[in-house]
Symmetry: C2
C-alpha cells in the first residue's frame, strides 16, 4: 500500500465568525489555533505522519487563492478545486479520484480544516491505526470522539463489536445518529459508549467507491466517471463528472448506510469551535474570566469586566468597562458586540446584514 | 454700551468621551449636536444675536489648531489662547481683558462650548436680557436652569428677591451650593425655586474686576495686569500676568462671594452631556430604545438589542446582537464597550489606559 495521503477539506464558508470571518476568509482561515489559522494547524498536525508530499487540500474556486496564500509551500496540483459547492459526498469522491490517480491504492484521510485537536502526536497515532484498518480495501474508517456533554448539534456514533481483539478501540459501527434531541443526547452521554462523529475518515478510493455503489448508486456513477477522468488527467471531464454527483453529505450519502464502517475511539481534546463563545477552549481566560484573542497588533484592556470573549485582529484597542458575558469581535471595518449566549445567532445577524444591504462588510 | 460680545470657552479636556474624545479632540469638538460639534453649535446659537464680529473663543495652546480648523471663519485675534490651563477664573479675567481692550465697556457673555441648549431663539432672548441686567457695570449675571432631577453632580443656585418688578425671572442670588448630597439635592428639587448653575455668565469687564477685588484680591491683581497688558497689546506681559493668577473656578473664586449677582431663570432644554449615556437627549431612540449616533459613514445594525447607545465615526459598521444597556463607541483605532450605568467611569478607564502605556489611543 502507498503511503497515507491526507486531504484537508477547506471549502467551508460559515457565517458564525463574522466579522472576523468574511466571505473570502472563513473560519479555517482565522488565526484561532493559538495564533495560526485552523487550516495551517491541521496541515502541521498531519505533516510529521504523512510527509510534505502527501498533503492535499480540497477547496472551492472562490477560496483557492486564499488557501494558496495560507499554504504557499503546497504545489498547485495538490489543491483540489471543486468546480462548485455540492457538500462533502461529491467532494470526497473528487478528492479520492484525484489522489488515487496520483498515488494508486493509497489510504486517504479526509480531515476537516476547522477543528481544534490535541495532542497532535496522539492524533497521528490514531490516523496511522485508521490507515492500517482500511488496508483491506473494504473498510471505511471513522473517528469517534469520547463525548464530554450531551451535544444535540453533533452527530453520534454507536460502536458495536470489536473488529480485532488486539485493537481495543476499534469497533464496527452499529449506527449513526445525526443531531439527537435533548433527552436522546443525554441518554447517549449516559451510555458511556456512544461517541461523537468527528467528521474525520480514512479509506482507500476503492473502498469508498464500493461503499457508494451500495449506498448511493448515482454518486457512485459520478465517482467512477471522476476516477476515469482523473486517471486521464482530463480536468474538464473531471469537473463535468463532479457536477453530476448528487449534492449531499458524506455521512448521509455513504457512512450511515455503508456495510463496513469501523470507528476508532479517539481520546483527543477535540473542539469544533462552533462560535466565538467557544474560544475559551483555545485561549486561557484571565483572572476575571475574560478570553482575549488578540492578533496582529490588537490590544485589549478590561476594567471591571467579566466572562467576556474579545477577538481582535490588526492594530487597535478594545476597552471593556463594567460588562459581563459579551463577545466582542473587532476586525477591519466591522465590529460585533454580542451576548455570549447568542453567539450561535451570529448566523442570523449575518443574514440580517445581507438583507439590509451591508454586503461590503460580509 | 457696546454690542454684546460672546466668548465661548473651548479649552476643556475631558476624558469621559474616550475613544471618540481624544487629547486633541475633546467633547466640544465631537459631533454631538445633531451632527455638528458642540462648539460649532454654541457659536451658531449666539451668532444671530451678537453678529459675526462679536464672537470670541478662549482655548489653550494645545487645542488652538483644532479650534481654528473647526471655526475657520473666526479671525485669529478673536481666539484667546491661554498660555496654560489654570481653570475658569484666570480664563475669565484673560478673556475680559482682551475683549474689553478691543470693545471697551461691552457686556461679555461667557459660555461653555460643550452643552446642548434649546430652543436657540429663547436662549438668545435670555442672553439679551442678561446683557441688559449687567449694564450697570456692577452686576454679574448668571443663568439658572429649572432643574428636572435631584442632581448631585451640579452646582445649585438659590434665587432671592426680584431685581425688578418688570423682570419676573431675574433675582438676586442668595447663595450658590456646589454638588449637594442626595438628600439636599432632593430638598432643592422639591423647593421649586432652586436652580441649576448653568456655567453661563454675562458681565462687563469692569463689573468682573470690581467683584474680583472683593472676592479674590490676588486674582484681581492679575486681572488688572492682564487688562493693562491687553490695552498695550503686549502679548508677553499678558501671558505673564495670566500665569500669576491663582488657579480656580470662576464659581468658587468670584460668583459664590460676589456682592451683586443676579440669576436669570432660564426655561431651556439644557444638557451638559456628562457622558455617552446622555446621548439619548440628543438622538431620539429607535423602537428598541437604541440611540444610534452615527457620523461620517458609520453604520449600525441591531438585532434583539435594547437600550444601547452606539456612537460611531468614520466608515465601518457596528453590529449589536442580543445585548442590553451598553454604550458602544467606535472611533478610529479604538473601541469602547461599556455598561451604560458605568459611562461616568470612562474617566477611570482613561486613567487605566494611560497607566498601562496605551497613550497612543488617548
Amino acid at each position: 500500500m502507498s503511503k497515507l495521503q491526507a486531504v484537508v477539506l477547506a471549502g467551508g464558508s460559515g457565517t458564525r465568525f463574522w466579522p472576523a470571518g468574511r466571505r473570502l476568509r472563513p473560519k479555517q482561515l482565522l488565526p484561532l489555533a493559538h495564533g495560526v489559522t485552523l487550516l495551517r494547524a491541521t496541515v502541521e498536525r498531519v505533516r510529521p505522519l504523512c510527509g510534505d508530499d502527501a498533503i492535499w487540500i480540497a477547496t472551492n474556486a472562490e477560496l483557492a487563492a486564499a488557501v494558496r496564500a495560507e499554504l504557499p509551500e503546497l504545489p498547485a496540483e495538490r489543491i483540489v478545486v471543486e468546480p462548485e459547492a455540492r457538500d462533502t459526498a461529491p467532494c470526497a469522491a473528487l478528492a479520492a479520484a484525484v489522489i488515487d490517480a496520483a498515488r494508486p491504492g493509497a489510504a486517504i484521510a479526509m480531515l476537516p480544516s476547522d477543528h481544534l485537536i490535541a495532542p497532535d502526536a496522539r492524533f497521528r497515532e490514531l490516523l496511522a491505526r485508521g490507515a492500517a484498518l482500511c488496508a483491506d480495501d473494504e473498510t471505511l474508517v471513522t473517528f469517534g470522539i469520547k463525548p464530554s456533554f450531551a451535544a444535540t448539534g453533533y452527530g453520534w456514533i454507536e460502536p458495536g463489536a470489536r473488529v480485532d481483539a488486539r485493537e481495543p478501540r476499534a469497533s464496527r459501527v452499529t449506527r449513526f445518529r445525526e443531531k439527537p434531541d435533548r433527552a436522546t443526547a443525554e441518554a447517549f452521554l449516559r451510555s458511556g459508549t456512544m461517541l461523537w462523529n468527528s467528521g474525520m475518515f480514512v479509506w482507500t478510493a476503492q473502498a469508498l467507491l464500493a461503499a457508494m455503489t451500495v449506498t448511493a448508486p448515482q454518486l457512485a456513477a459520478a465517482a467512477h466517471a471522476m476516477r476515469a477522468a482523473a486517471a486521464r488527467g482530463d480536468r474538464q471531464a473531471l469537473d463535468a463528472a463532479f457536477r453530476t454527483a448528487p449534492k449531499g453529505s458524506i455521512d448521509f450519502a455513504v457512512m450511515e448506510r455503508a456495510p463496513r464502517v469501523t470507528v476508532v475511539e479517539a481520546e483527543l481534546a477535540w473542539n469544533d469551535i462552533g462560535s466565538f463563545a467557544a474560544l475559551a477552549a483555545v485561549v486561557a481566560p484571565d483572572a476575571d474570566g475574560n478570553v482575549l484573542s488578540l492578533h496582529a497588533g490588537a490590544r485589549a484592556v478590561a476594567l471591571d469586566a467579566h466572562d467576556c470573549v474579545v477577538h481582535g485582529e490588526g492594530p487597535g484597542l478594545v476597552a471593556l468597562l463594567g460588562v459581563e458575558g459579551l463577545v466582542v469581535v473587532r476586525m477591519g471595518d466591522a465590529l460585533l458586540v454580542c451576548a455570549k449566549d447568542r453567539a450561535e445567532d451570529v448566523k442570523k445577524l449575518h443574514a440580517r446584514l445581507r438583507d439590509c444591504g451591508h454586503e461590503d462588510v460580509l
